[in-house]
């Protein structure tokens, strides 16, 4: 137990420090980009005070926008103060699923840029089954989610199959297939099957009540049961990778495909199966987004969930638990950024800067070690994707 605590501590040390470093730097940027603060540069003491206050206020707003805001409890019950946390989780839920999709691919030595397209197909499948059919509750949700996952698994699996059979690189394949998916959804929404009666803009009918994921904390908060699906998916990925023979094959091919092949493991099978499961995970993200929070398919359904997923998976070091935490962090930054902009005037873009800095420091561990004078610990558990020649 103690051993695993130490291990856990070592595992989060570097991301934690990168995180702290990024927030410190962002604080400086916030302070120095504020005209009021800069006007006091003549007297150092007031300048520092004012700088700390400005950055502090911005971070307070970030917190209020992502975790808890006491002001929201006035006139409501205490729970309403957690509205920001609910928003954070709503944004994080699909991100966990797309993040897991990218993380699992990393473990098999694949770079899945295609979570975006897989997400779109998941959303399309779930939406269609959701509004077109009338099924009993529970069964309807499951059917809709499964439809999305199957479509996305085929979409993702095709990449694995193409790579296995033709040697085409998955990065190029997935990027191109993202384009196809992006335009396919636009076309789909214009078809008579998907066009909402009485509307001419690209939006599908709302899914039936029976197909919606239940809300978890009443009608005032948007948090829905999708978070449990996402967490279950994380457990599933962990279980798959560490406990099953399939996961063993995935990791083995990811770490050394030549040795795996020599020992009789079918590399084409692993490539196809990995990409199909990755597709299903990202597709489940799309399904959850439709069935849980959006309820209707629209052209922007995927937002940047598929692309942020890459960052999330990298930040989480391609570990399931790490990916969950990274997705929650990103959800919090997204949710809090809006409040920060509206209440302190610090632009939303600052949040993107913070995100970028966190990733930058994660990607440059040597630099963080240098800043904090850390000795190199055994970090062999890195990512196994091998870039262009993989």
């Amino acid at each position: 137990m103690r051993n695993s605590l130490v291990k856990f501590g070592q595992a989060i040390k570097l991301p934690g420090l990168s995180f702290g470093l990024a927030f410190t730097l962002t604080g400086l940027i916030i302070a120095f980009s504020d005209a009021k603060v800069l006007s006091k540069i003549g007297s150092p003491l007031t300048f520092i005070k004012s700088a700390v206050a400005t950055a502090g206020n911005a971070y307070l707003a970030l917190f209020q926008g992502s975790i808890f805001d006491i002001n929201l409890t006035k006139g409501h019950n205490f729970f309403q103060g957690f509205y920001p946390l609910s928003e954070t989780i709503v944004i994080s839920t699909p991100l966990i699923l797309t993040g897991l999709s990218v993380a699992l691919a990393f473990k098999s030595g694949l770079f899945n840029i295609g979570a975006q397209g897989q997400f779109i197909f998941g959303a399309i499948g779930a939406s269609y089954v959701g509004f077109h059919f009338h099924l009993p509750i529970v069964i309807h949700v499951i059917a809709a989610a499964l439809a999305g996952m199957v479509l996305a698994a085929i979409w993702g699996g095709a990449v694995g199959l193409l790579k296995a059979k033709t040697g085409a690189h998955e990065v190029i394949l997935t990027i191109m297939m993202n384009y196809i998916a992006g335009y396919f959804i636009l076309w789909t929404l214009k078809t008579s099957q998907f066009l909402r009666p009485g509307r001419i803009d690209p939006i599908a009918p709302e899914v039936n009540q029976s197909a919606r994921l239940p809300l978890l904390a009443g009608a005032n908060l948007r948090i829905h049961a999708g978070i449990f699906i996402a967490l279950a998916a994380a457990v599933f990925v962990w279980w798959l990778l560490t406990k099953t023979t399939i996961g063993y094959k995935f990791r083995s091919v990811g770490a050394n495909s030549a040795a795996s092949k020599t020992a009789g493991i079918s590399v084409p099978f692993v490539l196809t199966a990995t990409m199909a499961i990755c597709g299903a995970l990202a597709g489940l993200g799309g399904a959850v987004q439709v069935l849980g929070s959006e309820h209707a398919l629209n052209a922007d359904i995927a937002g940047s969930f598929g692309f942020d997923a890459i960052t999330v998976a990298l930040l989480g070091r391609a570990q399931p638990l790490g990916t969950v935490f990274a997705a929650l962090l990103f959800g919090a930054l997204h949710a809090g950024g809006r409040t920060m902009q509206s209440s302190t005037g610090v632009p939303l873009d600052i949040v993107l800067v913070t995100q970028a800095l966190i990733v930058l420091f994660i990607a440059a561990p040597t630099f963080v070690r240098f800043v904090f004078r850390l000795k190199k610990i055994n970090s062999s558990a890195g990512l196994t994707s091998k870039g262009w020649n993989g």
Binding site: T245, S252, A259, T262, A381
Partner: protein, 504 residues
């Protein structure tokens, strides 16, 4: 120029890699440093070359103490080094590689490559090298690439040349060539420190031999010392270098290859219509100079090559065209040429590597679930049986020494029901102790009635283990001879001279 090391000590944590090492290399002397992998040879040389810093001790050049903290200090003190893994940029020409790190610019800042070209030609003439300064390095054979490294050291006026395991990557011919070069360098007054664990080469070329074991100098002997003595000094116990050929029963043919052809991706036949068989209880060695199709033939036997024609009968069952999985499970154990690349998953634990082929079969798997307990328990057993030395079977295999890595591969491959063992260069890069172990295992398999096909470029190994020897030349089996053939006859066959059957 003479080089002397006095009391060099280097520790890594609690591990003492070099323990008060004293060494003296005279002008124009070839001084061999002999030791097993991990004995501390490379650490010592990295200290001399300034890549590592010693905890204590001093380095004297021509009786004067010098302070070497980085490679440039070593270079200016006249010490050059040719690393085991070449420090060359493959897509650059020879001349470009040689000016690397010493670039001088001419008019308008243009790179002055002409001076280097002239220098290369001069050094090549002095030492009888044939190296074209304009050749792209990656197109050159390994032996020539090594000469480029040597030329680089000579151009920057190395008076003491450190050669770190220089023959590990060379074919027998290239090795002979290198030994010749070393004698020429010596004749011109260059001192050479020759690091190796190959006894034959040491005895052939060295003037003085220092033996290092576990970080300590355990012997300073002359090249007249017998191989057996050298080996036992190196390993610390008596070593059986050439296992005695006991009489053994040879059964009926168990693997028969008929008109086997392997094509590369361009469609050229790298193995061309070869026919051979191996019988139960027999070792068939496939000898030949590296690159004559042996690697491809070995891989083809488990269908690891993509374009295979012809027939492979294992116990009268056709396996040509089967999947790799089916070939392995039909009863072929396969020790691949490169254990790091094709044999092991470096980041996996020893236990995980031991089930690479069997992970989805009982008792290691229960349905789709891995049985972690069984995997660990079996790994402990194998580690004991095959003497895999590690703190725990959960250690990553990449942390093991070459010998222990190979033991993991062998342990895995022999844990299936095996009819034929295909071993491709099974002792390449291993130390004496590990080679002995591998040889014993191979003979044990033979004695247990399995057929063994041993692919090896080491003549000693081939002659010591084989019952019959097939010699490959340019993708064809030139001849299959009895094991009482002489080295000279084998050498001729390997060079492509199929005069007549050396022994019929």
């Amino acid at each position: 120029m003479s080089l002397e090391l006095r009391g060099i000590t280097k520790t890594f944590g609690s591990f003492t890699a070099n323990d008060a090492i004293n060494l003296r290399v005279e002008t124009g002397q070839i001084h061999a440093i002999l030791g097993e992998n991990g004995a501390g040879k490379s650490t010592l040389m990295n200290i001399v070359y300034g890549l590592l810093k010693a905890d204590s001790g001093e380095i004297l050049v021509d009786e004067k103490a010098v302070n070497i903290t980085e490679p440039s200090d070593a270079l200016s003190a006249g010490i050059g080094m040719v690393h085991q893994h070449f420090m060359l940029i493959p897509v650059f020409t020879v001349a470009e590689n040689i000016v690397l790190g010493h670039e001088k610019s001419g008019k308008f800042g243009a790179l002055d490559i002409e001076t280097a070209r002239l220098a290369i030609k001069e050094v090549s003439k002095d030492f009888g090298f044939e190296v074209n300064p304009d050749a792209i390095v990656e197109t050159l054979p390994v032996g020539i690439q090594q000469k480029v490294e040597i030329i680089r050291a000579l151009i920057y006026e190395a008076k003491v040349l450190i050669l770190d395991e220089p023959t590990a990557v060379l074919t027998p011919q290239e090795t002979d060539e290198l030994l010749k070069t070393m004698r020429e360098l010596k004749a011109k007054g260059t001192s050479i420190i020759f690091i190796t664990h190959k006894l034959r080469e040491v005895r052939e070329v060295a003037d003085q031999i220092t033996i290092i074991r576990r970080g300590k100098v355990v012997g300073a002997v002359s090249p007249q010392t017998s191989e057996g003595e050298l080996a036992s000094l190196m390993v610390g116990r008596a070593v059986d270098l050439a296992p005695e050929k006991v009489k053994h029963e040879i059964g009926s043919p168990i693997l028969v290859a008929k008109d086997l052809t392997v094509r590369n991706t361009l469609g050229a036949a790298v193995v061309n219509k070869v026919n051979f068989h191996v019988s139960a209880g027999e070792v068939l060695a496939v000898a030949g100079v590296q690159g004559n199709g042996q690697s491809e033939l070995a891989r083809a036997l488990i269908n690891l090559e993509d374009h295979i024609e012809g027939s492979i009968l294992l116990d009268d069952k056709e396996i040509s065209g089967a999947s790799i999985y089916d070939s392995l499970h039909a009863g072929i154990a396969f020790i691949p040429e490169s254990r790091e690349l094709d044999g092991l998953v470096g980041s996996f634990s020893i236990a995980e590597n031991l089930i690479l082929d069997l992970h989805d079969q009982a008792p290691y798997a229960n349905g789709i679930m891995l049985s972690a307990g069984v995997v660990m328990a079996e790994a402990e057993k194998r580690a004991k049986e095959f003497d895999i030395r590690a703190q725990s079977v959960s250690d990553a295999v990449s942390t093991l020494s070459g010998g222990n890595k190979q033991k993991v591969v062998i342990a895995r491959e022999l844990s299936r029901p095996v009819k034929v063992l295909v071993a491709s260069q099974p002792t390449r890069g291993l130390d004496v102790g590990s080679i002995e172990f591998v040889h014993e295992r191979i003979l044990a398999e033979r004695d247990a009635g399995r057929g063994v096909i041993l692919f090896s470029t080491e003549l000693d190994e081939v002659m010591a283990l084989a019952d019959r020897i097939a010699v490959m030349y340019r993708g064809e089996i030139l001849d299959i001879v009895d094991s009482n053939v002489t080295r000279e006859e084998l050498g001729l066959l390997m060079a492509g001279v199929a005069a007549k059957k050396a022994s019929a």
